[in-house]
């Protein structure tokens, strides 16, 4: 009973106190000014802190990629209400929401290509689910998505550069032979083989990350980077002579002279990736172009083993 009466008393006291406070508030101009100053100072401290924090959240970390339909990070962050509907509707559990302590705005969707890449659904359910247009509904063809850009970062560990036939990234690419093509070049180490080097084309690559996911190395040599990081930008005043020439339909400076290479007699040079062209291509190699025929040719095999 003692405690209970104390409680009663306290409650009555608080009621009285609030009455007194409201009276005092009306009367005291000094207190009013004090309160205003305190509130203003509090708001300023909070605004500065949060403002700085919000700027920090705008920097996008390298391995965390946005879902399809995001073109500008700041615009995305102003529209995304962090509801998770895109995550719910992603059929492959690709998308996740940024947690506290992660270097991405809290609650915004992302995916990590090495972990689970984007499967590039035709109906783009994540974009369809977005209620605020943070994932842009204008994206109606998933091939037009630009979630990032695959970059073959490490030429030292990518086994294609060692002359081995890997081509996994080339083969898993949803836009096979378009977003990643194989560039055939000479293998200088053996002197007689070719290198098939994967080359990414930014006009086709959607940044889905299937190449990074599939890369056979312990740490992927090909990685999807945010576009802003991966792409260079030619100075706006730059003009490429041969393109201008094509546009103009003829040379823009002095009349075109045919270029003469100083080459051995009978040898031609094709600048378009083919290198030296010897007069009789058929005689250039004793081997057939068909590898099966080559293997079945026991005579040749014997010859080579006896070497």
């Amino acid at each position: 009973m003692v405690l209970k009466t104390i409680k009663k008393g306290e409650a009555l006291k608080t009621v009285k106190n609030t009455e007194q406070q409201s009276d005092a508030r009306q009367l005291s101009r000094r207190r009013f000014l004090e309160n205003i100053t305190r509130a203003a100072a509090g708001a300023a401290v909070l605004s500065i802190g949060m403002g700085v924090y919000s700027r920090q959240s705008l920097s996008s970390p390298v391995t965390m990629l946005r879902p399809p339909g995001v073109s500008d990070e700041k615009d995305f962050q102003s529209r995304c209400i962090r509801c998770g509907l895109c995550v719910r509707d992603c059929p492959y559990d690709t998308l996740k929401l940024a947690d506290l302590g992660q270097p991405l705005a809290l609650g915004t969707p992302y995916f990590e290509a090495r972990d689970v890449p984007c499967e590039m659904c035709d109906d783009i359910p994540c974009v369809a689910a977005c209620p605020t247009g943070a994932l842009d509904k204008k994206l109606d063809n998933i091939d037009d998505a630009r979630m990032g850009l695959a970059v073959l970062l490490d030429h030292e560990t990518c086994i294609a550069f060692q002359g081995l036939r890997c081509e996994v990234c080339f083969n898993v690419c949803p836009l096979r032979n378009e977003a990643i093509t194989l560039n055939r070049t000479h293998n200088a180490r053996t002197g007689k083989h070719a290198l098939f080097l994967p080359v990414v084309h930014s006009d086709k690559c959607t940044g889905c990350g299937k190449c990074e996911h599939a890369c056979i190395l312990d740490e992927a040599a090909i990685k999807v980077l945010p576009l802003a990081l991966a792409k260079g930008q030619l100075g706006k005043h730059y003009r490429l002579g041969w393109k201008e020439k094509q546009k103009a339909g003829g040379s823009l400076v002095t009349p075109d002279l045919e270029h003469h290479y100083n080459l051995p007699e009978g040898v031609k040079y094709d600048y378009d990736n083919r290198g030296l062209i010897e007069p009789d291509e058929k005689k250039a190699s004793p081997f057939s172009r068909n590898p099966l025929q080559q293997l079945n040719n026991s005579k040749l095999l014997k010859e080579s083993s006896s070497d």
Binding site: K4, P131, G133
Partner: protein
């Protein structure tokens, strides 16, 4: 000290256990059901209500959006999508009818944490009281709506513990429990009802929708009040009760304050059955009301 009575003991003795916890149980049922529905709708085949409390789709057709979070987004991007607008309008209309802060006490999962902190305070008689003005929440509300307008980013949602928790329960989070613990400690040890009653700008936003709500708690049998003060002790916003309970015979018995969450704890705790859930249009008994007028708090 043998006569020490626990808060709510009187009610349990006179009304029985169930009637002393009826509204609390109903609220917990509502809160957990909503979370459960979201969780089972994570399965690709179940579309009862998918998404989260921030934005969702009911039965693959009706969009719902949180008007507070959407307001921040609209102020930041200066752009509004029809789908989100419709969703927010439906939600706003609902809370406009049943009372904005019904969100706080019947839906918001943070309420479970702060109620538990309050229960612990009473249980252990923790008396620590750092004074935090309850007007701070309106300051934070102004701040959370103004900053997106100025910076173009949704600033409050970078830290908002309410949306963080409701989202994390559904989609998982390794770190959300930190924020939950912080709010629990704040409420239990630093200041009574500090988060929901004094700081949360989301609650402040919903109390703006609370001005005209039809559903109201009513102290219609206030003449039975025996001044035990338990309703003031249990109420998360004790200031709302006084005008209705202690008003003159001329003033309305309806709790009109925009801070009232319609949680019904006062109804549960009152051994004298003073309070009931009713409408804002409740009239004073005809014996008193020769010159009846509605007085809002």
């Amino acid at each position: 000290m043998t006569e020490f009575k626990r808060l709510g003991q009187d009610a349990i003795q006179t009304k029985g256990w169930f009637r002393s916890y009826k509204w609390l149980l109903l609220r917990r049922f509502s809160q957990f059901t909503i979370i459960a529905l979201f969780l089972i709708s994570l399965s690709p085949d179940i579309n009862i209500i998918k998404g989260s409390m921030i934005s969702s789709v009911v039965l693959d057709s009706v969009p719902l959006s949180d008007p507070f979070v959407l307001s921040q987004s609209v102020l930041a991007s200066k752009h509004i999508e029809a789908n989100a607008l419709i969703g927010a309008a439906i939600v706003a209309l609902f809370y406009f009818t049943v009372g904005g802060r019904v969100y706080c006490s019947w839906v918001c999962p943070v309420n479970i944490i702060t109620d538990t902190a309050e229960w612990l305070r009473n249980k252990l008689s923790i008396k620590t009281a750092l004074h935090i003005s309850s007007r701070n929440r309106y300051g934070l509300l102004a701040f959370s709506l103004l900053l997106p307008l100025l910076t173009g980013t949704i600033v409050w949602e970078l830290v908002n513990p309410v949306t963080l928790l409701s989202r994390s329960i559904i989609f998982g989070s390794a770190m959300a429990w930190l924020v939950v613990s912080a709010i629990f400690l704040l409420d239990a040890l630093v200041s009574r009802r500090a988060w929901c009653g004094h700081l949360c700008p989301m609650g402040a936003f919903y109390s703006l929708l609370n001005h005209f709500s039809l559903l109201r708690v009513n102290a219609d049998k206030r003449e039975q009040c025996n001044d035990c003060m338990e309703c003031f002790t249990i109420c998360p916003e004790p200031q709302v009760i006084r005008p209705a309970l202690k008003g003159s015979t001329e003033t309305s018995t309806v709790i009109f304050s925009e801070s009232c969450t319609n949680c019904g704890r006062c109804i549960d705790i009152c051994a004298q059955d003073v309070f009931s859930m009713g409408s804002r249009f409740h009239k004073l008994p005809t014996t008193h009301n020769s010159h009846q007028k509605e007085v809002s708090s």
